[in-house]
């Protein structure tokens, strides 16, 4: 095999993406066929490339820079994941997007996203990576902008937020290049003090904002409403996490020596913990299917950042495992949301309800992915969360507590979501709802099955995909696959989950809506005792939690507006004041223009004469 094959995962989607753009929307079939073909081809290529160690380089931009790509044990599975998610979601979009506008643009951006993401993963030079990274910014903008009529505003918001963090990353890359004397990722090895720490923080901002961590998350919930849904399933749910966390891991493990004792590690963990708790609290009060999911997409990033921030092997393995799991169940959840949207025409929870019996497959997939995200054993989310807990506890109980609280709210909000969307009384409007077509169900089922498989046989992903990343030395001979060793943690998790469930039941009961589906758990003999005690202890925190979440939401809103004010009020106003003056000066009289030229010429002449 020649090394040039490494270009294929980038070129195939790039070329087909450009081709798709040339077709008008009338040739829907051609567009769909090309996209599907390209996605399956790149999937095949990434399967072929799996477990290959390759590198490739071309001279680039002069000055000794190289366009270098490298495939090694870490990029294998990220590349594979990108290709497979791309393939599944394109399959799904074919039906979902059928009657939407801007079909050609959608598929084109989609394929370009796959291309740039593959490029960013493969790049072995920071500049090349930045190049692809910025390309992703463009497709992100394009994808959001083709959504509904508010989408352009959201697209601008996303563009500005991500653009600014990308600028930080650019600064970080320049600084890193300056410090290390090279931009080749595999050759950089820096310590974390002084300027090195600054460079790390800049790069980290780029990475975690790509992953969608707080405080760079605000565009995601807006985009959830405005952008096409497959975009949400692909980009914020899967790709951004994969890329962001991949890059975070790469900078923490390869380029900088992140050690457990350093303040950077603590900072990362703190960001992770805060993101978990705040985002999940926001999620709890959402009343829209997609918006609720999008806040979870933010919250789950917290676990990954927390895991990697611990800088101990178990935590990092947990973070990475959580990344892949999250990509699975989160895209599964978004896809289920898409099915609901496609079939009922709405994602507003107040209009949904009771469709579980009418869309059984969707419902089952939802249940499985929801319990996975909530961390119920034996699904995949459970195992990765346990590993993260283990790592967090090793570094400090406060982080563990935050993670656990996050877990509680996650479970609570998904109970609420499932209940409101699929159970309860069905509205008149949704009486005729049928199950989604097979082509849309298939990707969802695949993802859901993977959730189960990665849970039951977690040796498979852990031993073959993730643990090799850390390498034998770091792993110190540990093997984290199998059922978690620390039973206390498992018990705590289970307890929290049960608490969430009970709390949900209690909440629904006091609110008085129908809850027959979960009543039997309430009256189960073993649980009722715990429930009784939980009633007193948890009621207030729940309400308080809601209030705090509300407050957080308000603060977040105000911060948002502050940025808006700075942007709209100050920058734009000042700029337009200048603009008005300039326009006023152009009176249309040629003698004024002549006079300007004359004065300009005199000034230039005087300046030159007096300074020579």
């Amino acid at each position: 095999m020649t090394d040039k094959i490494l270009l294929l995962p980038i070129i195939i989607p790039l070329v087909s993406g450009a081709m798709v753009l040339l077709f008008s929307n009338r040739f829907r079939r051609a567009i769909e066929m090309i996209s599907l073909l390209a996605a399956s081809l790149s999937l095949l290529v990434s399967i072929r490339l799996f477990k290959e160690n390759l590198s490739f380089s071309l001279p680039w931009l002069g000055q000794g820079l190289e366009f270098s790509l490298k495939l090694y044990h870490f990029s294998w599975f990220i590349l594979l994941a990108i290709a497979s998610f791309g393939f599944l979601i394109i399959l799904y979009s074919i039906l979902f997007m059928r009657n939407k506008a801007y079909l050609n643009q959608f598929y084109s951006y989609f394929l370009l996203t796959i291309s740039f993401a593959s490029g960013a993963v493969l790049a072995d030079n920071l500049l090349i990576m930045l190049f692809f990274w910025e390309g992703l910014l463009l497709t992100l903008f394009g994808m959001i902008a083709i959504g509904n009529k508010n989408a352009f505003k959201t697209a601008i918001k996303a563009f500005i937020i991500v653009g600014i963090t990308d600028l930080c990353m650019m600064a970080g890359i320049i600084l890193t290049g300056h410090l290390a004397g090279t931009l080749a990722i595999s050759k950089i090895s820096l310590s974390l003090n002084g300027l090195g720490a600054l460079a790390f923080i800049f790069l980290m901002i780029g990475a975690i904002s790509k992953a969608g961590s707080m405080p760079f998350h605000t565009w995601i919930p807006d985009a959830a409403i405005d952008a096409p849904l497959p975009f949400m399933a692909l980009v914020p749910a899967a790709f951004e996490k994969l890329l962001g966390i991949y890059f975070l891991t790469r900078i923490s493990l390869d380029m900088f020596q992140l050690s457990p004792g350093s303040w950077v590690s603590v900072m990362l963990m703190a960001i992770g913990a805060i993101t978990i708790v705040l985002a999940v609290m926001m999620a709890l009060i959402q009343k829209d299917y997609k918006r609720l999911l999008s806040y979870h997409a933010i919250s789950q990033v917290g676990y990954m950042i927390l895991g990697i921030g611990t800088a101990v092997p178990v935590g990092i393995v947990g973070g990475l495992f959580h990344m892949i799991n999250n990509a699975l169940y989160k895209s599964g959840l978004f896809l289920s949301g898409g099915c609901v949207e496609k079939q009922t025409g709405s994602t507003d929870l107040r209009e949904l309800g009771g469709i579980g019996t009418r869309m059984p497959v969707t419902f089952i997939c939802f249940i499985i992915t929801a319990v996975s995200i909530s961390g119920v054993p034996p699904f995949n989310g459970f195992f990765s969360k346990e590993l993260v807990y283990d790592g967090a506890l090793e570094r400090g109980w406060i982080f563990y507590a935050a993670a656990l609280i996050g877990s509680f709210f996650t479970a609570a909000s998904f109970l609420k979501l499932g209940h409101a969307a699929f159970l309860g009384k069905i509205s008149e409007k949704n009486k005729g709802v049928k199950e989604a077509p097979f082509l849309m169900l298939a990707p969802m089922i695949v993802v859901t099955l993977l959730c189960v498989i990665f849970g039951l046989y977690n040796q498979l992903p852990l031993r073959h995909l993730i643990q090799p990343v850390l390498g034998g030395i770091r792993m110190e001979g540990h093997d984290f696959s199998g059922f978690p060793g620390n039973m206390k943690l498992v018990l705590a998790t289970v307890a929290v989950l049960i608490a969430a469930l009970l709390n949900h039941i209690w909440g629904v009961k006091t609110k008085g809506s129908g809850l027959k589906a979960v009543d039997h758990i309430h009256h189960a003999p073993i649980l009722s005792g715990i429930y009784d005690r939980a009633e007193k202890r948890y009621f207030d925190p729940y309400d308080m939690g809601l209030k705090i979440a509300d407050l957080a939401a308000k603060i977040a809103f105000r911060c948002d507006r502050a940025v808006d004010w700075l942007y709209d009020g100050l920058a734009v106003k000042v700029t337009f004041a200048f603009t008005r003056q300039i326009r006023k000066a152009h009176t249309g009289s040629y003698s004024a223009y002549l006079a300007w030229s004359l004065i300009g010429a005199i000034l230039v002449a005087v300046f030159l004469i007096y300074s020579t």
């Binding site: 071309l58 390309g135 463009l138 337009f576 040629y590 300046f607």
Partner: protein, 461 residues
């Protein structure tokens, strides 16, 4: 061989106007297309066709060849769009003849090695473009042409006065003789004054702030194909290439001159971008953005380093391509909607997809987003500024990129995105004469953007 670049268009005009006009009317347009393709070919793959009897003092280095390439490409798309937009055959014939004259003039400007011949060819192109601007004889076009004439006359006077004063020490008008003379003689204030007014004349021709008064009017009032030509190559060749040539081959860079160039460039960037932000006329916004982009070329030149000049020439090339593409888009929109007022447009992308996409790509290239061609040239200019220590200007250039992005996004939002208006529900995509050139130019933008990094080492500068 270079003399053919001037003589061939000239002979073409003469041949086309020989007695067989009836036949020539039909073939003129195809002949012009073939000529521009031939120029592209000759620039890329030089063939030495010896001139038997006439020895002209012409020379071309890589800068001239880049500009010759731009001229040919932009001329090609101009002819295509003119074929589509000018329906009457005899009008089209006159138009093509004027284009040949313009071509001869611009090729002359890029090839001459003599400061007075430079002036002559600049004036030839300018006179042809006065006529081209007022080609349709509407009021705004005449107004714009008159303003252009007045400012140009001032520029001519300044340029010639500069030449005359420089001749005081050189005694000759060849580039080489003047450079030698400038090296030998002390810089007396009279000579500095001569250089200053010469440079300012080129500023007027190139439309730099504050010498730009004619430019927005001329660009916006000219007929659509002429706007493409004017914005794409005419002002760039006359003013900007002239400036680059004079700086590189004749005057050389010294401290105050660099400062003046940098300041004028930065002023053009910022003020041009701010003015573009407030426009509601499609073409006028593009015109102001042209001023702003030309500012980038000038600050690149102002560094005086090889890297900066390379960036300037590369940006000149890129600017010719993307600005022509944008003017073609504006022509497409105008031909369908009958207006250039952006407040009366909305959501056209769904009806005119090719126009919409090509304009997005051109705008992003202009705003300097990777991996499009405009990104590389801006990057090189900014790096050159940074490396030469003009960090303030580098920061200004980066900041102004944000404004550039802002006004282009505002253009896109107002024209192509959003909800379509009721009264424009029935419009269709513009004809192939406007979309094909735009697609060609966009392909060049993307192709150059992707290929450039790999070719960087191959370009000998």
């Amino acid at each position: 061989m270079y003399s053919w670049f001037i003589l061939f268009p000239l002979l073409s005009v003469i041949i086309l106007n020989l007695p067989f006009r009836g036949m020539m009317n039909k073939i003129a347009i195809w002949y012009a297309l073939a000529l521009s393709i031939a120029q592209v070919y000759l620039v890329l793959f030089p063939v030495n066709i010896v001139m038997p009897f006439l020895q002209l003092n012409l020379n071309a280095d890589i800068i001239s060849r880049a500009v010759l390439l731009c001229i040919a490409i932009v001329l090609f798309v101009t002819i295509l769009s003119a074929k589509y937009l000018i329906k009457k055959e005899d009008k089209l014939f006159n138009f093509v003849n004027l284009l040949f004259i313009c071509l001869a003039g611009m090729n002359g400007v890029t090839l001459v090695t003599d400061i007075f011949s430079l002036y002559v060819f600049i004036e030839i192109t300018a006179v042809a473009s006065y006529t081209l601007i007022s080609f349709y004889k509407d009021k705004d076009a005449f107004e714009a042409a008159f303003k252009y004439i007045m400012l140009s006359a001032m520029a001519s006077a300044m340029m010639l006065a500069g030449i005359a004063l420089i001749m005081l020490i050189s005694g000759d008008t060849g580039f080489f003789a003047i450079r030698e003379a400038l090296k030998v003689s002390p810089h007396s204030s009279l000579i500095v004054f001569a250089i200053a007014i010469f440079i300012c004349a080129l500023f007027i021709k190139g439309g730099l702030m504050p010498f730009h008064g004619w430019l927005p009017d001329a660009y916006s009032a000219a007929p659509a194909p002429v706007s493409v030509l004017l914005a794409g190559v005419v002002t760039k060749t006359l003013g900007i290439y002239g400036l680059i040539r004079i700086m590189v081959s004749v005057i050389g860079f010294d401290g105050p001159l660099k400062q003046a160039l940098l300041f004028i460039g930065a002023l053009s960037i910022v003020v041009g971008a701010l003015a573009a932000l407030g426009q509601s006329d499609f073409k006028r916004m593009l015109a102001y953005s042209s001023i702003s982009q030309v500012g980038y070329i000038i600050i690149g030149l102002g560094t005086g380093t090889a890297l900066g000049i390379f960036g300037a020439v590369f940006h000149l090339f890129n600017h010719a391509i993307f600005k022509s593409s944008l003017f073609l888009n504006s022509a497409a929109v105008e031909s369908r909607l009958g207006t250039r007022d952006m407040d009366k447009m909305n959501g056209l992308a769904s009806k005119m997809p090719v126009t919409g996409i090509t304009s997005v790509i051109s705008c992003l290239s202009a705003a300097g987003l990777p991996p499009l061609a405009g990104f590389w040239s801006k990057l090189i200019i900014i790096v050159a500024l940074w490396v030469s220590g003009y960090r303030v200007y580098a920061v200004v250039a980066i900041m102004a990129s944000v404004i550039t992005l802002a006004y282009f996004l505002s253009l896109q939002r107002r024209v192509f995105f959003g909800r379509i208006k009721e009264d424009s529900m029935n419009i269709k995509e513009a004809g192939i004469g406007l979309t094909l050139p735009a697609v060609i130019l966009t392909a060049i933008i993307i192709g150059v953007g992707i290929a450039f990094p790999f070719l960087r080492d191959a370009i000998k500068f």
